[in-house]
Amino acid sequence: MNSREPRALGHDDPGLQPERTLLAWRRTLMTLLVVCTLFLRWIPPFGLIALLPVIFSLTAGILVQIGLNARYRKSTKGLKQERIPPPFREVVVLGGTVIVLSLMGIYAVGFG
């Protein structure tokens, strides 16, 4: 977490929900990173095309990571205002990435 976040945008939620949510995103992105490195093991049987899911998931992960600090700020601000906008973009990017990765895997194993 960026060290200036709590100072810049504090909140009075004793449940620490913004931090827990931010950490949940980080855990998920780290899991995505591990999964995309596993695809590297597919280079010997499938060739360099196996780099495609790696590049795809890394790009999606970086995109989501870039938006995380803004999401944290929105969460802390939203707690004060009693309204948080739903994270459509992040859900679509992350959910879509996992769906596309699964489809790539199914295609490679089933038809590759």
């Binding site: 449940g15 929900q17 855990r27 009693e82 948080i84 996992v98 769906i99």
Partner: protein, 139 residues
């Protein structure tokens, strides 16, 4: 999930026109939910996505590392099962996140996680198949 503060039990009503176009078309009308519930729904979505990623990692690993353990047909079947489960769980995670967001805004009961029994059954079947293979297939 924390209980909402009783003093904040009635969040402000937000007309659909106050939201952006995407939110209006996907979420419809209703009241803004407690922001803690929005965050809890977000974390639940992420937990499902991590579950999907675990299945995906399992499928990739079975295909990559078990060449000496399983026959090619069984390896492909196990890997495909795990990858299909990963896809189902990730699709379900997105749909469920949206359904819960809608239900919270319309003050309706939260939808049941439909995929839970399928996931349990699928995981149990894959595990049972592997146990059978390990006992009888290796002999």
């Amino acid at each position: 999930m924390n209980s909402p503060d009783p003093g904040k039990a009635t969040p402000p009503v937000t007309a659909p026109s106050d939201r952006d176009r995407l939110s209006t078309s996907l979420l419809g009308g209703g009241c803004e939910p407690d922001p803690r519930f929005t965050l809890a729904n977000e974390r639940t979505f992420l937990a499902w996505i991590r579950t999907a990623l675990a299945f995906l990692a399992g499928g990739i690993a079975v295909e990559a590392f078990t060449g000496d353990v399983f026959t090619p047909g069984l390896r492909r079947a196990v890997a495909l099962s795990l990858l299909i489960l990963a896809m189902l769980v990730s699709v379900s995670a997105c749909v469920r996140w949206l359904k819960v967001e809608r239900a919270m805004r319309l003050r309706k009961p939260l939808p049941l996680p439909v995929l839970m029994p399928i996931l349990s059954l699928g995981g149990a079947l894959v595990a049972a198949g592997l146990i059978v293979f390990l006992i009888y297939g290796a002999a």
